[in-house]
């Protein structure tokens, strides 16, 4: 892998470089791999990368039915944070956040990871109490978090509606300063490039259509580009997890829903942090290019269409104006949707499945972008060692029969 | 006798207007309302008690000079009458339905009734209601439950154009404000 750097850029700009090379190869699929990862989103690519990097597995393929990062990785609102309530979640998200902090340099790809802080507004006493509970827990889990007064909040976010005479005035907030945003596409591309450099075959336009088993063991896959044998298979297909589990013969406690996002036209910087509001129900950041990137809730119904309905966008707009009156005359440039896989307890499923040699990572729902490196790390470890990584263990599939759910509805009150 | 307080008593200012008056908005203060749940053989019994058959077709009404039954669901009606008449209605219905499973519940105070009349009443409602109120679709014998903006309502067309809007009491102030706001484009006048 030719390293990226300013010097390289300069040399190429003035014609002294030897040109740019492809970031990853596009090989034909081989007939057999040690590990096949299904799903070329951030999580799948990160899994492959860490399998190769941390565990020395060399013969790996990532199969992606469309284009790399074209699932939720390429359509999310890029919020990264770790201030989750329960210890289990805090541990895995914080592990992930720590990885984010070194990821640009690790991958030698600028992910534009911007730790600009994330403010969760509180508009009611109850919300503030919930925030307090979370912040106390975060701190004891070693996660930076603070409770801010109304005044501190308003000072930090000058365009926030500070009136006390509105329906839901801001009464305080919680902030995680190490939280922020990253460039979503770059995450897929950066992992792909780095994984490719370690020999991982990244195969696009390759849809898995069947999962072959020998007894209770997975032995391979049928794909739109032919049959592929595999000793181990990781299913990392976000919105399509239920479909793939169906191919492998087991069920998941998952429903797929549309989640939308939208961006405004680019404007000069007005918002230097990420703001979320559960009560007024929207969240927003401003991208480096200048658009406001926003989202809110899912559509209630199941769907595999990567689009949602108009009322959600109207609600985002009205919430945005409630929070930031100055946006009213700005314009929404584009809206789109993704398919998110929602678990009953709003926590993911990571680990082994009823099929030997088959592992799954799904259920990140509206908030798994932030977990990309961490989730890849623990799933790689789980696959390599055929036992749950300690951080993954609580997120096993069998928590649904034991009843040991990890209910993060509160922390995920507004989808992100 | 104590003072009775209608949901909008503190809100309504008769004579208030926000433009050339195209629409009249009135608070009907109290309208007798009885929620009737009944099925099977009770249907006929209820019809006898009322003096007319319950409307069985969805979203229709039936009635006479004293009351009007509005279809709410396959086994549910709202019987609307003048305030004060509901007790008698309840008594008659309960007596007639003694042997049939039923629920006859006084909900007179649960809802406010706002009347919006005038040629522009329909476009005003169209600002917040997804129903098609075109007269071809929503004629005089119709009734519908729906939403106006964020309030659940029962919409009953009135003679001469316009609608009675039945709305949960706690939402009445919101709906009132909403109607005034939505009607401002045409001018709306509050009548006493």
């Amino acid at each position: 892998m030719r390293r990226y750097s300013f010097v390289q850029l300069l040399r190429n700009a003035v014609g002294l470089g030897d040109g740019w090379q492809q970031a990853w190869r596009s090989p034909e699929p081989k007939s057999s791999y040690d590990v096949v990862i299904v799903g070329g989103g951030g999580h799948g690519l990160a899994t492959a990368y860490y399998l190769a990097k941390n565990h020395g597995v060399r013969n790996i393929a990532v199969l992606e039915k469309g284009w790399l990062g074209g699932g939720n990785t390429g359509r999310n609102t890029t919020v990264v944070r770790s201030n989750y309530l329960w210890d289990e979640s805090a541990a895995i998200y914080e592990h992930s956040l720590k990885l984010w902090e070194g990821l640009t340099r690790d991958l030698n790809y600028n992910l534009m990871f911007s730790q600009r802080g994330l403010v969760m507004l509180a508009h009611t006493e109850h919300e503030l109490n919930e925030a307090s509970r979370r912040v106390h827990a975060n701190r004891l889990n070693g996660i930076d978090a603070e409770i801010w007064s109304r005044e501190q909040t308003l000072a930090f976010i000058p365009i926030l509606n500070g009136s006390k005479d509105i329906r839901y005035p801001v009464i305080g907030s919680s902030i995680q300063k190490r939280a922020g945003i990253a460039r979503h596409d770059a995450v897929a591309w950066g992992f792909a490039r780095a994984a490719d450099a370690l020999g991982v075959d990244i195969i696009q336009n390759c849809e898995v259509t069947a999962i072959r088993r020998d007894g209770s063991r997975v032995v391979g896959l049928d794909t739109t580009r032919g049959a592929i044998d595999a000793r181990k298979v990781g299913l990392v297909a976000a919105g399509h997890s239920s479909v793939l589990a169906g191919l492998a013969g087991f069920r998941l406690p998952i429903e797929s829903h549309p989640l939308q996002a939208m961006v405004s036209e680019p404007i000069k910087p007005v918002l230097d942090t990420v703001v979320m509001s559960g009560t007024v129900h929207a969240y927003v950041s401003q991208s480096d290019k200048g658009e406001l990137v926003m989202g809110a809730g899912i559509d209630a119904f199941n769907s595999y269409a990567q689009r949602g309905s108009l009322p959600i966008l109207e609600e985002i707009a009205s919430a945005m104006i409630e929070l930031f009156p100055i946006v009213s005359r700005l314009k929404v440039l584009r809206s789109w949707g993704g398919i998110v896989d929602i678990c009953p307890d709003a926590s993911p499923i990571i680990g082994k499945t009823p099929v030997d040699g088959l592992y799954i990572n799904c259920g990140w729902g509206t908030g798994g972008f932030k977990a990309t490196p961490g989730s890849g790390w623990v799933l790689a470890d789980t696959i390599a060692n055929d036992r749950p990584h300690p951080l993954a263990a609580p997120f096993s599939l069998n928590r649904f029969s034991s009843g040991r759910l990890i209910d993060e509805h509160g922390a995920a009150a507004v989808a992100h | 006798m104590t003072v009775e307080c209608a949901p909008l008593d503190n809100v309504v200012r008769p004579g208030e207007t926000n433009g050339p008056s195209g629409i009249a908005l009135t608070d009907r203060r109290f309208v007798g309302q009885v929620n009737l749940r009944v099925r099977g053989s009770g249907l006929t019994a209820a019809g006898h008690a009322l003096g007319y058959a319950l409307p069985m077709a969805a979203n229709t009404t039936a009635g006479d000079a004293t009351s009007r039954a509005c279809w709410l669901g396959p086994d549910e009606w709202l019987i609307v009458c003048d305030d004060g008449k509901q007790a008698e209605l309840i008594q008659q219905l309960s007596a007639a339905l003694a042997i049939d499973p039923n629920a006859v519940t006084d909900v007179t105070d649960a809802r406010a009734v706002l009347r919006i009349a005038g040629a522009c009443a329909r476009p005003v409602l169209a600002k917040g209601c997804t129903l098609d109120l075109h007269p071809r679709v929503f004629g005089a014998d119709r009734v519908a439950q729906s939403l106006i903006a964020r309030a659940q309502v029962m919409i009953l067309p009135i003679e001469g154009g316009g609608y009675d809007l039945f709305v949960a009491r706690s939402f009445a102030g919101y709906l009132w404000d909403w109607l005034l706001d939505a009607g401002a484009e045409y001018g709306i006048r509050v009548e006493g």
Binding site: W20, M112, I326, R329, V332 | C5, H134
Partner: protein
Amino acid sequence: MSQDFRLAQGGRIDREKPLRFLFDGHAYEGFAGDTLASAMLANGIHLVSRSFKYHRPRGIYGLGVEEPNALVETGIGAGIEPNARATTVELADGLIANSQNRWPSLRFDLGAVADLASPLLSAGFYYKTFMSPAGGWKIYEWLIRRAAGVGHAPELPDPDRYEHSYAHADVLVVGAGPAGLAAALAAGRAGARVMLVDDQVEPGGQLLNTPYAINGRPAPEWVAEATAELDRLPDVRRLARTLALGVYDHGYVACVERAIPVSQGRVRWRERLWRVRAKEIVVATGAIERAIIFDGNDRPGTMLASAARAYAVRYGVAAGQRAVVFANNDDAYRTALDLANAGVEVAAVVDLRHDLSGALPGMARERGLRVLAGHGIVGGRGRTRIKAVEAAPVDDPSNRQVIECDLLAVSGGWNPALHLYAHAGGKAAYDSGLAAFVPGAPAERMTIAGAAAGRFQLADCLADGARLGAEAARRAGFSAGPALVLDAPEPEPDSRIGPVASPSRGGKRFVDLHNDVTEADLRLAVTEGYRSVEHAKRYTTWGMGPDQGKTGNILGLNVLSDALGQPVPQVGTTTFRPPYHPVSFGALAGRETGDLVVPTRKTPMDSWHAEAGALFEPVGQWRRAKAYPKPGESLHAAADREVRAAREGVGLFDASTLGKIDMSGPGAETLIERVYCNNFASLKPGHARYGLMLGEDGMVKDDGVTARLGPDHFHMTTTTGGAAGVYVWIEDWLQTEWLDLEVFLTSVTEQWAVATLSGPKARQVLGPLTDVDLSAAAFPFMSFREGRVAGMPARIFRVSFSGDLSYEINVPARHGLALWQALMESGRPHGITPYGTEALHILRAEKGYIVVGHETDGTITPADLGMEAMVSKKKDFLGRRSLVRSGMSGPGRKHLVGLMTKDPARVLPMGAQILERPSEARPVPMIGHVTSSYHSPTMKRGIAMALVKNGRARMGDTVYLPLLDGPTVAAEVVKPVFYDPEGARRDG
């Protein structure tokens, strides 16, 4: 002030109505009927903006929504709109417009150094650098952010108003060009309810922009007639200035209407979002002309041919005095002829095609225009305005000739506007003859007419419209009306279209003008492996600007096709997404902002609370009195005072918000037995019981007191927040699973106003008002009586959430206020004190009563709360099976306990986390958290409730709570009942 470039005649502007406007502080004049762009051009303004990345000078490029360059700021102060397209802004007297994204001035913009550094700033350069030093990104990012962005957001809240309206249509026709007008007429004549929307001020579409003829007369005459007929049809609604933004499921279409601009004062509303539910949609949105790729194809003075022609024909403006037309298709010759007819000198038509045998080139030649066949434009001169172009044979690009001009009209062919079709799920097919995507398989409820379907002859557009309009009406249930007879002969253009790129000599060749994406950028993306069209888009940002690639998409696809060696259809397309054209937040939000953002539900006594100066708090949609502070009194002091009154004397609380469900029928008892986990079968009429409701997952879902009014008749109460959910949930079971139960539910939440009188003197206050015997023997705790209170019919429940003697008095809502006043009056001698939710919470916490949502969070079982004794062992109930799952019991579960801080003055913060022993380690295992915590005026100390792992085994233990502001506080684990554990007071 002179409009030097206004043609002497022609155009649809009103020369009698001059309008003044300012651009960058200079005063100009235009006419009514102008857009800002046409008025600027009439005044010779060609430099209007700077590009996004390289800050290159840019001019007006298009005619309408496709405009990639001419983004300006309009208005001042609170009325600012950034990124307004000069091409879509209707001119109004006094309009103020300013250029954006330049400093210090439009003409001299320092940002243009980026243009010099452009070799460094190739596609995706930022992914390859700014990586060191670690942490350096913060600074790089700061710089990048300041350089990026386009316009400035307003600094003040928007003073304007935005409306929403729903509408229903049998046939919605989008676009009022010839195809749309014909469709609307055909459908309207059939009697269908038609809605015809068009984003232009006037109907007519392209008929306004080119001199076509219909039925032997100038087309605008037909437009006027058709419009008049439509306006006469009773069920046709025609909306001008209305843009269809997006098509959603089941015929739902969002359109935004702009108000007619006014010179003075405010418009009544600025924009109105129409949400149309259509049985059938006819898309007649026409086609958008595209550009051609050539070196330096962004000089001000370069514009789409169709735009140059429309400025002349429709607005009477010469976009230049000497024009060169650059073409790859026959339609461009119409532009050449129209320009020439309008008095613009046409220096040459440069056509990439060699063989020009069609009728239109012939007409141009006959007219004496110079036509350079097989030539391309390979360069040009001029920085802030084009001065000349360099044309050269396609086969010999170095053989240049310089043609002086001040207008370069470019026509690369037309792209059907398929956006709405794509929103509806349509999959476009590539038509290589047009070098464009055309509609493929039909989309739901939608047909496509005219140029939007790739049918560019006027006669076809009219015929399409008439046919599809009638068909749509028929599908919506109407039989055809009188047929439309329309005849529109015109010269047939040659269907062979030329390439969309001109030979290059190495200059900048833009495929996306707004985002400054060049052909080289796209090629670089392919080289680097970003081969999917979606990757190329994202890597280069091609098509991601404010114009969403309306003119540049096909150009880029052709570049990719070439670079990948794949035909265009195989390269694929990117996805069209709503909105078709950017829409303001205001329009999307409508009136759902400010006071109307969410309903404020009020109780029947609300006006009293407000007059008493209550401090309100939002609880869901309700507003509830939190406390009634006296002047100068803090919330805490007020709550303290209120608690003391309710403990020592008597307090009055408005509990009207509680959910109430009337349940009656022979199955009522069974139903209640199934939905509560505790026993209700033994409850006698006239009595009430606290019930705990679990979800099927065994977790506490809701709670409340339910009274048995009669053998088959119950009155259930739920929490305020749970009311709707519980009702829907029970109906679900009744309607879908327990069909055998004959029970009717009626929500009576709003029927009853509820005033809770509590405190030792409650009886004295209520006694004089009621005929009900209040003696403890006659009316014991947990029973209910019907009677009269102050002359009003009332249901009185003797229940208590404060732990003291307490009556919950329910009266029909109309009496709520009177009841409240009567109780206040009767209580005055006893010092009755109204109390709010804050005091309520303190009172119940002193008693250790839970609040669903505080002590529970969806993960808490009855056993966790210490309520397992309540849970019936005998009956089946919802959630029972879940309680015996392995994770639901045994060690490690959290129990509800009380906490007493060692320092009695200390009030623990809500949510504080609990440690077994103090520790500085992080992470450190936590054993629980504080669920409720208050200063208890009764106990005169801080009290708290908490959920603690194995809490019931820790009674008497000390636990530690590290607080955010520093100290770690020690507290003792105690039973969660602080006050009157025996319950003597409530039974009094």
